[in-house]
Symmetry: D2
């Protein structure tokens, strides 16, 4: 049995695990992410790896990191939420741990995890869309992870979907993630509450508009709140319409939806399928892809990173 | 020297040629396309191939066809402008010609031609955008032609860029080709003429709004007509903004612009680069791709098809 | 009792009636509209007036005409669907009939009819929106009919609601009537049918997409067809969102919805109210206007024209 | 000679003046606005009025206030930047000053001032658009100030121009003032600077993106900076396209542009006229309105308020 170690470094937490060749996590650990201190992140990751190495025999460590990674899978060029700027994370970690390390974009790693052991396991062309705070993506094309010419592909959240649209944190107007992310869901829900159109949501939030968040909306929708259902429906339609555009370009066989908002299950997926079909070019003349929920949850990144490291 | 035969079957003409392994066409021939008669097309293609085979020794024929092609590169599933519906064109042509045949989407074949012998020859991740009547595309990713899960990838003209936008021939609203194609250029130019804002263009067209076409606008722009320059500028900006969205997804190293409208050269490319930079997410933190003109003209498809056939 | 004659000249029919000072039609008549022949229209209108004058005593004739009318209420400057171009219709009709004539825009006349005897009878600031083939409007502000500086006000169907949107017959992109008219409803319904998402509608239309029309959609919605209900819902939301923009500018007390599509009643009005509230600026800090159905049907224009003539 | 007192109460300053019946200010005074303290505002206004009354003989005081004013011209229902909520400002000021007071919306008062003594003095249907931090408006229709059914008309900055557009402070997406205001100009300029496309602007701002403001952009444009000229051009086109929508509804004879950004003169007005003509429905078949700069500057409000008070 071949083991590898996978690590997922996000803006709020670091998750590490030892993964076998069937994608099963045999042990995992997590710590908070010291996101503003580059050395502290390296130390934290190395500490998790060293500790796991005491009890498990592995030679390869794969790290999924939320940033732009160079084509050599070594240097983090830029990360929006972590202090990395042109940091050779691979060299630092190989020095500290003595293991062979590869760095991958976290969403790419998650896509590979889902492709290998999860929602994309039966096809060759696969798109993972993570709907969390933002919208991320990972692509497996012709059976291989696609990273782009400069290691920055699959940033689908920044495809423009509304000219002159909502101002995105990236500085552009109208990015996909302004309409199809968890943040978009919360923005719409708070707006509805402020306008007096979401009294039930407001009540669930203890009367505070600022306390309305994504899980609260999803919980309300599950219990039949019509406003929450409509909000998830609007989010899902934007998501599906974006998938139609991505399908015109990429023609994948399966699109899996992961990330926190995917916990809404069919309340999100069904309107996504409707939005997709309403905008798919050539429908009726082409095989139709499958839109389904991702299956590995927030461990997809570490599982995928581990598997990429040992290949 | 290895020769192969390439054929490009469009809605108005069929172009065939014998291509050597440096991408040079040693002989070519063309006939009008009998687009509404499936058997007549097969006969016409076979006739061109048989005739070329009398003077050249080749074993492989690659056919670029304007339609959806199945993953086996054999059957045309659907073609918007030709009468093919689930036609096994490969079987028909192999029967008639005795050669080994592969069928490719015409834009994919052109992308491969440009990648191998033209504008994309020095990199691994390449996007060809053909700006003609519509907007087509072809993708080479990690050095391989990307066809999609069902053979229908790279239909970038049908990415939605304006929700609720202009009605496209495909039945959807707001497709990219409604804003960045030669037809879009003509629509804008005629609209300007009808509104009395393009007197020079109207004069060039003999006073008839209906006579304004793309080459006329380009010619006027080359001679300094400010309205024509502005129209190409608007087209170029839409094009560049679309490339920014595609780059968020695909991260190519080079984007080449082909098709008839690319004859406007820098009058189109310069505003395209401006539009691209104004919308590129992560600019300043990523290597920037090159936007350049395609170099093989309307022979890119046959050259690419020939090369794909012999591999 | 004061009688006046009202005439409504449209692209397909001419409707005339004698109206008393309570807005009741005491006799009416109609003929087909010879829309392409200016003299024939004049003759037809004069014939209807002369015939009614044999049995009723009136001195004033008001004519509602589907076109731009000059400020003197005399000349039709331009009409999109009738052959009038700078025709002094008032002079022609006064010559023929010997009555005092005023010409009004038909939607303005209808707005005055509804304001005086119908849906706007209890307030001072009133907007009538007619949702038929296109979207028309009429404004009563501070209790007076508002015609605009040049007699061309209240053409609300040509307010732009989507930059780069659907091409309108007026030559612009994204006009309100491309999203909120009966034609928009039919376009959406046919598109759904072509895409295989409206089988029930297609069945009602005898299997012919081209036979799907507005009354068919409304009838299906009344009988519970979920696709038809959703289509009217989408139309209603666009309508309500447009009303929110108009309210930001005009702050009316009542908006009445007339025209053929208003026959869908609450299936249209309820989503219109939702769309309105979702987009109204300052909601919660301002009195809310009433959105209701117009009450005079297709006689609003003739009733209003008659009343305007006798004032 | 008839004198009246006009006061303009904004979020940052209070401006008062004595105005004769030719619109000339015979004496004026200003103080900072204690915007968060309702009583302090009343005291400040009363103080200015009392002081002016020592040297001038007037019976009427008109107050322009930046908020929703009730139809009786007495109570401020709501003000976005001042602490008024249902405050009967008229009663308070009449108590304090012993004068006859009327309260008007400040933009309405300014429109009346321009209509009576400034840019709209020769016509009957007039729209003033103030392009400052936001976009405000005032309407004179058929020669009378139009206030709307509830006193809240002419809030043209909140007409929606981009569905799903930029989030406005009012809670809606895509409001006109997000695209055509001074704030929009600054947002575009800073974005260009951050993206490295406005080095000259950045240099003028001492290298600090945050220091780029509207007057700086206008000054740069006057001195020929091509980026600044292009930014004012884009702002002007949005402005003109919005005026085209407003013209479809209102058909005014003159639109005057006031507010701080109007100091850019033809650098703003010329692209506004182009944007207007490109989007005007029925162009060629209708008289064309005049778009010109407002002439009374920031005193339009007090002059208009004074004149409204004495009528």
């Amino acid at each position: 049995m071949s083991l590898a170690c996978g690590v997922d470094v996000g803006g709020t937490k670091i998750l590490a695990g030892v993964v076998d060749d069937e994608g099963t996590i045999v042990e995992e650990a997590r710590v908070e992410s010291p996101a503003t201190d580059v050395d502290a992140i390296t130390t934290a990751v190395a500490g998790l790896v060293d500790d796991l190495a005491k009890r498990h025999d592995f030679a390869h460590v794969g790290v999924g990191a939320a940033g732009y990674i160079d084509k050599a899978r070594s240097t983090v060029l830029f990360a929006p939420n972590i202090a990395w700027r042109d940091v050779d994370l691979r060299a630092h970690l190989e020095d500290r741990t003595g293991k062979a390390v590869v760095i991958e974009n976290d969403a790419n790693a998650a896509a590979w995890g889902e492709f290998t052991y999860g929602a994309g396991a039966d096809i060759d062309d696969f798109l993972l869309i993570t709907v969390g705070t933002g919208v991320g993506g990972g692509l497996v094309l012709d059976g291989a992870l696609y990273r782009g010419a400069f290691g920055i592909g699959a940033e689908i959240g920044h495809m423009r979907v509304v000219p002159g649209g909502i101002l995105c944190g990236c500085g552009n107007l109208g990015c996909f993630e302004m309409y199809a992310s968890g943040n978009a869901l919360v923005r719409m829900a708070r707006e509805a509450a402020e306008a007096g159109r979401a009294d039930d949501l407001l009540k669930r939030a203890g009367g505070s508009v600022e306390s309305i968040n994504g899980p609260l909306v999803t919980a309300a929708a599950r219990e039949g709140d019509s406003v929450a259902i409509a909000l998830l429906g609007e989010l899902g339609r934007w998501l599906g319409e974006g998938i139609a555009s991505l399908t015109a370009v990429l023609d994948p066989a399966t699109v899996a939806i992961g990330g926190g908002v995917s916990e809404a299950d069919e309340l999100l997926l069904e309107p996504a399928r409707e939005g997709f079909l309403s905008q798919l070019t050539g429908r009726g003349h082409r095989p139709e892809l499958v839109i389904r929920k991702a299956t590995l949850g927030d461990r997809a990144g570490l599982i995928g990173a581990a598997d990429l490291a040992r290949r």
